[in-house]
Symmetry: C2
Subunit: 127 residues, 2 copies
């Protein structure tokens, strides 16, 4: 039985704001958004589990990063969560030229009335 | 209880090949890949249901289209299906300059041992 969350757009926007703010400020703190079953595919390299995901993100070879979301589209999934497609640009360290990226997230509700990331796929876009 | 399909990568690749071959040959035939609950968000415009989705795709203002998949990443979802992130390029009609796009699909199994598209989000990427 499908459970469509009528607030999916609001949830998606709040999540995306929070995710990139946290990523750009202190990406180790993203651990709270993942669970043991969560998956991250970052530039076609995959890891599973909150700990492994945050280790992967923390090991990326830049000190400073700034994400700028260009577009955000979301749809509900049948679990009461949402699927999100972001396109945007990011700047790392002292680099002046932004890189285009796309990222998709699938959020599932947890048992505390919040949401966690089940699927996370990130890809740079070369034009 | 999660149902992870160990064949998710093969399913994702076969699906993506079939989807764009069908889209580029006769996009009205994509109707078999959608169900009444399926959602399409195409350039931030959303429709629901196989019939409405195919009408939307068929109404796009080009006669010829060729998709070229650049990257395909997939992860399993807990229903036995998969989530897919594609980046690629497309050429329409006599246009010589390809457009970059990104598209995410969520596939769910049907009761016949096949898969249908539950979520479909398409977005052009401007660099």
């Amino acid at each position: 039985m499908a459970n469509i969350n009528p607030q999916y757009e609001t949830i998606a926007k709040q999540f995306v704001d929070f995710y990139y703010q946290t990523f750009d400020a202190d990406r180790a703190k993203l651990i709270d958004l993942y669970r043991p079953e969560s998956m991250l595919t970052f530039e076609s390299s995959s890891v599973q589990g909150a700990q492994a995901i945050v280790e992967k993100l923390s090991s990326l070879p830049f000190q400073k990063v700034a994400h700028k979301v260009g577009t955000l589209d979301s749809q509900p999934n049948p679990t009461g969560g949402a699927i999100i497609l972001v396109t945007g640009q990011l700047l790392v360290d002292e680099e002046q030229n932004p890189m285009n990226y796309t990222q998709t997230f699938q959020l599932f509700p947890d048992d505390k009335g919040s949401f966690f990331i089940y699927n996370d796929v990130f890809k740079l876009v070369y034009g």
